[in-house]
């Protein structure tokens, strides 16, 4: 029994292994979005004009705000890891809390953006959308699906950070055991990077 414990302890201390697992997981996430980006590029080349017109209807102010919010949240995430590594649990918790807050603001923004479109009658399979050109239908479906799946990732990320926040305040994470927070950070930056691609593809290329 005791032996079992030591083995698991050895595993837990394998920081390299844990990070490697996270990187590999991020590859899979990248490919998941890769499938969507593939669809985007095919349909963009097929319906170039429709995509240009539809993209102009998105709210570039809200989009830009969200970009700034998410980039800032990556900064607070990094700061929380540095703080933890230097042993400042309280400061780290504060930064993690800020990251969660920014994530929530992002999602609230997204909610307003989505509702505005839905009020106009634009959502997948809606009569208004189906009356539009085929490229418009695909553009808005892609918009809802891609930002939707991204939003889901933001939500999951915020949930995971909430978990590390609890662990940090409980003292389970600290300067000698920060790999879980670091992995969470990797995931968070990944979510950020996906947005950095989504933003120009939907809002900027008009």
């Amino acid at each position: 029994m005791e032996k079992t414990e030591t083995v698991h302890a050895v595993h837990a201390r394998d920081i390299e292994g844990a990070k490697m697992g996270m990187w590999v997981f991020l590859f899979t996430e990248m490919l998941l979005f890769g499938g969507l980006f593939l669809l985007y590029s095919v349909y963009r080349s097929k319906y170039t004009a429709d995509f240009h017109r539809s993209a102009a209807e998105l709210d570039i102010v809200l989009g830009t705000m969200n970009t700034v919010i998410l980039l800032t949240s990556s900064l607070t995430m990094v700061l929380s890891i540095s703080a933890l590594r230097k042993g400042h649990r309280g400061l780290s918790s504060l930064f993690q809390g800020m990251t969660i807050l920014l994530a929530i603001i992002f999602l609230v923004n997204k909610y307003f953006e989505w509702s505005a479109h839905i009020h106009q009658g634009i959502y997948p399979d809606s009569p208004v959308l189906l009356a539009m050109k085929r490229g418009d239908i695909i553009f808005f479906s892609l918009y809802f699906v891609m930002t939707g799946i991204h939003g889901l990732h933001v939500l999951i990320g915020a949930g995971v950070i909430a978990g590390t926040l609890v662990f940090t305040t409980q003292g389970k994470l600290g300067p000698d055991n920060f790999v879980m927070l670091e992995n969470t950070g990797l995931y968070w930056h990944f979510v950020d990077i996906i947005w950095i691609y989504l933003f120009p593809l939907f809002y900027l290329i008009v």
Partner: protein, 535 residues
């Protein structure tokens, strides 16, 4: 350690330890060996269900309409495919033999993430149950074929969404296994176990794991989009909304072709372990076999288009896909020649694991060579969507991956369960299965060349003879399966106690007791030479 022959009592992993007792000690175990056994039971149960569905299909085809209705037949071939692909042959070797033996073969105490390993089994069971549930609920069992091609999969009222959701979860399980194996192989090799001292089964698991990691997410997004398509009408694959159904085919095969190598690579790894042991000779061309695994995984990623030669694609793409398809044959051929060269001038002892492995080579070679016929553009037009394809992939997947799995099961059974099985019964079963298999599937090659389309409920009179031969073959084959599994199950309790190293294997798993102790090794071994050093 070898001096401890037959000392099975010193804390085998079957003895309970830790917090839980009885069934819970299995359901909440993080021991890779116990998880391997859990997977073995689950995978074989799904396999049994898939076999029964296959038998029913064959039963219909002996006299169409007499036993089974059209609608039921469509569901039969769909659910048979989904179960045999996603719940049997993809997980079969990595999750059972892989989970059990990967840490043993590299001299580790467990995989890198034992709890994620357990999570992956739970997800597997959850996904499997959802797939089974989809058969009995909603608008009836899915009837799209296992490929779920749009636009029919968007329109059908059968319970496709639930089945797709199950497949999505199974994909997650598969990714977690792959992630775990890659990290384990990188991080937990015993001291001195350099990359080129790893047993070749480990190499094949490594290549498989990367394929699982890099291909499965594409399936996940493809089936997710199909579910969204059915729920919200997003229109990506619906031509009336500007979507393109062929894009679904692309996304589907970007995963499902590499998946073919997820199925076959581990089986190749298993027989590579078996040949040197029963030829008492080191493996021929170690590095060639190791690199050919990686090459198959790599090329396998780039050939998905050969499933779609008739779907509508530019000639340039078709020629490129055809060319790369031919290239896959090169590393596969390298393996076959290396196995045969390993046997050449060896002191061969034909025990059942070797017999199954030899059957594997024979059946896989037929499957592989007919694959070249499929990959030829001109011939593909003629045989696309016929029984020729069905025969081809059953020879590779079942004759290849399936028999490789059976070979591994017989090779490692003494180590996993600490018992020997009846050798004679195992050989008899292998022989009967070989006969049944060829009757069952070779007749399908002939049917395909005669023009019999796959998935048809009814057929013209000229196909009748071969359909009858095939159905009779299915009965003989199942008789062989029953003898094989009957023998193994009987041996679990009644078999002779297995020595630690019944075959005289040189890899690490044979140096520990049978069944292995909880911690695998008393002391982590130090490796000073390659895995197949026979004197």
């Amino acid at each position: 350690m070898i001096a401890r022959e037959n000392s099975q009592d010193s804390g085998s992993f079957y003895e309970e330890s830790g917090r839980y007792r009885g069934l819970l000690s299995w359901l909440f175990t993080t021991d890779h060996k116990r998880i391997g056994i859990l997977y073995l039971i689950s995978v074989l149960s799904f396999f049994a269900a898939g076999v029964v569905l296959g038998l029913l299909m064959r039963l219909n085809l002996i006299d169409p309409g007499r036993f089974i209705s059209e609608r039921t037949y469509n569901s039969l071939f769909t659910v048979h495919g989904v179960i045999q692909i996603f719940l049997f042959i993809i997980p079969a070797i990595p999750t059972t033999l892989g989970n059990f033996f990967l840490p043993l073969l590299i001299g580790a105490r467990d995989v890198a993430f034992p709890r994620i390993n357990l999570l992956s089994w739970w997800l597997f069971i959850l996904g499997g149950l959802i797939v089974v549930l989809s058969v009995f609920t909603g608008g009836g069992a899915p009837d799209t074929g296992w490929t779920f091609y749009a636009p029919y999969s968007i329109r059908t009222t059968s319970n496709v969404s639930l089945a797709l959701f199950g497949v999505f979860i199974l994909g997650f399980s598969s990714i977690l296994t792959g992630l775990n194996f890659v990290t384990t192989i990188h991080r937990l090799r015993a001291p001195g176990m350099k990359w080129f001292r790893m047993p070749l089964f480990v190499w094949s698991l490594y290549a498989t794991a990367w394929t699982q990691i890099l291909a499965t997410p594409i399936l996940a997004i493809a089936v997710l989009l199909l579910v969204l398509e059915r729920m919200f009408g997003i229109g990506f694959f619906d031509p009336t909304k500007g979507g393109d159904p062929i894009l679904f085919e692309h996304l589907f095969w970007i995963y499902s072709h590499p998946a073919v190598y997820i199925m076959i690579l581990p089986a190749m790894g298993v027989v590579t372990e078996i040949f040197p042991v029963f030829a008492r000779k080191t493996v021929f061309g170690y590095k060639a076999i190791a690199f050919s695994s990686l090459a198959i995984a790599f090329f396998g990623y780039l050939v998905w288009g050969h499933h779609m030669f008739t779907s509508g694609m530019s000639d340039t793409s078709r020629i490129i896909f055809s060319l790369i398809t031919f290239l896959v044959a090169v590393p596969s051929g390298v393996k076959v020649f290396n196995w045969i060269a390993t046997l050449y001038k060896g002191s061969i002892e034909v025990y059942s694991p070797l017999l199954f492995s030899l059957t594997f080579i024979f059946l896989f070679s037929i499957g592989g060579l007919t694959g070249l016929i499929n990959g030829t553009l001109s011939l593909n037009l003629y045989i696309h969507g016929t029984y020729f394809i069905v025969a081809h992939f059953h020879y590779t997947m079942f004759g290849g991956a399936g028999f490789g799995f059976f070979a591994g099961l017989h090779y490692w059974f003494p180590k996993m369960f600490g018992r020997m099985y009846n050798e004679r019964a195992a050989k008899t079963a292998c022989f009967i299965m070989f006969i049944g298999f060829n009757l069952l599937y070779f007749s399908m090659f002939v049917l395909g060349l005669q023009g019999m389309p796959r998935r048809y409920f009814q057929y013209l009179p000229q196909f009748r003879t071969n359909h009858i031969i095939s159905t009779i073959g299915s009965w003989i084959f199942v008789a062989g399966l029953l003898i094989m599994f009957g023998n193994l199950i009987w041996s679990l309790r009644k078999g002779k106690k297995a020595p630690n190293n019944p075959w005289g294997g040189k890899t690490l798993e044979w140096q520990t007791s049978s069944p292995p102790p909880r911690e695998n090794f008393e002391e982590i071994p130090v490796i000073t030479h390659g895995p197949y050093k026979f004197d």
